[in-house]
């Protein structure tokens, strides 16, 4: 049947793509071992969607190669299309069709017979808890339900590789949890998943390994823990009782921590990276106590992926994405 592939379900090498004078991708490499989840992370415009479009045969790269499920995306795109399921950034659900009709149509277009398609569509509706609404036009579905339907569409042909392009963008927290659950189930079934996201928390939750891209280039790769270790140390965060003490607090934190502390008068928060963890925490509290500064809350955080992103690129991921989005709407 399908071509064999040696433990690597997706391999992209040296992908380059320009649109006019803009270089969207500048030599992106990535590899996903079979059955694993790779989180492709980066702000809007970093090249995530371009990478996805190349791997799903929607776009040809100017240079580089892409192998998906043992097939060459450039030489044999048709075979790649038979092996993958794509759930796009915008749920490509036809809102005038019912949930059942959407899935039935996709199944038919994968080449299944009418009866196979009907059975498969019903199965997926059941699995994605859409049975009750399956015969209602999807126009009336909530955002979360549409996402589930779109995800179901990607799984119609039981693909070995599933590509999810920002599967939770625009979803409320409940919808996001729902989607995460579905993705976890996929992984349990042994499916290989390429997941792009702007939400660092999401990659942290779901991905076995993470590739961070910015401006068309890979700027970091590794597991979430490895990336966090790159930032080094932990973050000591405390809240003082009186905002007037913040300046003195910052001075103390600068002494015990590594790097420049930051403060926020509004929340009365001050934080700093520390190399020595609990030791630095105790030292900071002792010195603050000596200066009679009242501390109302204190915590030692492992770095989040947001910290990683900030450290790697010099700007925050979500802020950047937020501005880019506003720009697109205006």
């Amino acid at each position: 049947m399908g071509a064999r592939f040696d433990g690597i379900a997706v391999r992209a090498e040296g992908l380059v793509k320009s649109f006019g004078s803009t270089r969207a991708l500048n030599g992106v490499d990535l590899e996903i071992p079979t059955g694993q989840v790779l989180g492709l992370l980066g702000p809007n415009g970093a090249g995530k969607t371009t990478t996805v479009r190349i791997l799903t045969t929607l776009l040809k790269p100017d240079a580089g190669s892409a192998m998906v499920a043992g097939h060459d995306a450039l030489a044999d795109p048709e075979a790649v299309r038979r092996s993958i399921g794509l759930s796009g950034q915008y749920a490509a659900v036809d809102e005038n069709l019912t949930g059942f009709e959407n899935l039935y149509m996709v199944a038919r277009l994968y080449g299944m017979s009418r009866s196979q398609s009907r059975i498969r569509a019903r199965e997926l509706l059941e699995r994605f808890r859409l049975t009750e609404d399956g015969d209602r036009p999807s126009k009336g579905y909530s955002g979360g339900m549409r996402r589930r339907l779109d995800l179901a569409g990607a799984l119609v042909a039981r693909p070995v590789v599933v590509v999810l392009d920002e599967p939770t963008t625009g979803l409320d927290p409940r919808g996001r949890m729902d989607t995460w659950e579905v993705i976890s189930e996929l992984v349990d079934d042994g499916t290989t998943v390429l997941l792009t996201t702007q939400y660092l928390e999401e990659a942290d939750q779901l991905a076995d390994s993470i590739v961070v891209i910015d401006k068309g280039q890979v700027i970091a790769r590794g597991s979430a823990d490895e990336l966090k270790n790159q930032v080094g140390g932990e973050r000591l965060e405390l809240v003082v009782a009186d905002a007037r003490d913040l300046a003195a607090t910052a001075r103390v934190l600068a002494e015990v921590g590594s790097g420049q502390p930051s403060t926020d008068a509004h929340t009365r928060k001050a934080d700093v990276f520390v190399d020595t963890g609990p030791k630095a925490l105790i030292e900071a509290l002792r010195r603050l106590d000596a200066e009679s500064i009242l501390v109302s809350d204190v915590a030692l955080h492992r770095p989040t992926l947001d910290d990683v992103f900030l450290a790697l690129t010099g700007h925050a991921a979500e802020e950047d994405a937020g501005t880019a989005k506003k720009g697109a709407v205006a």
């Binding site: 049947m1 929607l58 043992g70 038979r82 950034q89 915008y90 749920a91 069709l97 277009l109």
Partner: protein, 273 residues
């Protein structure tokens, strides 16, 4: 896991294109069924043209005789406008990501266009039916033979289908629905007005007359007038020349001449993907 990759589908490329095209046609028709307002453009608009031209301009042009002459023209204009509806439908699918989903499936790429144009052909047929009834009300009659009348409808639908393919390409190029709404309609007006749709082409000045004489829309309008047995408008110079004498043949040749390069260009693009 058993099958790593779905088996390649059975059957020839043409059979697959037709099968997938059928699925996409079904999808598009379901869209129309759930949104009957999509039919307004294809039905109300031509009726409006009939009534405006028959009763606002018609009085100056010869009353009943003009109304009978007008219908063949409006039929041709109605099927030509099919192009604009396809443009908008295509741009809409593109913008909503439906085309991307189709393109990521192992289906025939040609089927996306085929499904769109076939569904629009069905809508167009309905438009023609409504038009014919409207024509009967204002005094238009089929005076020729039954076979000729059938041939007239075949010419109209064929032309509508070909125009729809042009519209599909315009839609793919325009990308955004807002652009498609202008791009789809704007060229329709000169193409349908500089023709024999509303007036006799011999009354047009110099270059416009030449354009109108060779305009496929003129050929379609004059062809169906002939086939329906509707008499020419009295008191005007009769068009002559090869095109005027062979309107039906010329209309069909135009269809082939427009359609074939589009299909081949598309096929090349698909084949070299």
């Amino acid at each position: 896991m058993t099958a790593l990759t779905l088996a390649p589908p059975q059957g020839s490329a043409i059979a697959r294109t037709l099968r997938d095209g059928g699925v996409v046609t079904w999808r598009n028709l379901m869209n129309v069924r759930r949104n009957p307002e999509l039919l307004l453009g294809a039905t109300i608009q031509p009726i409006m043209f009939v009534l405006l031209f028959a009763y606002v301009f018609g009085g100056s042009f010869g009353g009943g005789a003009y109304r009978e002459f007008l219908m063949g023209g409006i039929f041709a204009q109605t099927v030509a406008f099919n192009s604009a509806f396809t443009t908008i439908g295509m741009a809409n699918d593109l913008q909503k990501g439906v085309i991307d989903r189709f393109r990521s499936l192992p289906m025939s790429r040609m089927a996306v266009l085929l499904g769109r144009t076939t569904a629009d052909l069905a809508v167009n047929s309905l438009g023609l039916l409504v038009m014919s009834l409207c024509g009967l009300v204002v005094g238009w009659r089929i005076r020729g033979s039954f076979t000729d009348a059938v041939l007239a409808f075949v010419v109209l639908l064929l032309f509508g289908f070909v125009m729809s393919w042009i519209g599909a390409f315009v839609g793919l190029l325009s990308g955004k629905v807002e652009v498609a709404q202008s791009a789809g309609f704007i060229w329709m007006f000169p193409v349908t007005f500089i023709s024999s749709v509303f007036v006799v082409q011999t009354t047009l000045p110099g270059p416009l007359r030449t354009f109108a004489e060779w305009n496929p829309v003129t050929a379609v309008a004059d062809s169906v007038r002939g086939l329906f047995g509707n008499p020419p408008l009295p008191g005007f110079e009769r068009p002559d020349g090869w095109v005027a004498d062979n309107a039906t043949l010329y209309a069909i040749l135009c269809c082939i001449a427009i359609f074939a390069p589009l299909a081949v260009a598309k096929y090349r693009k698909v084949a070299s993907k």
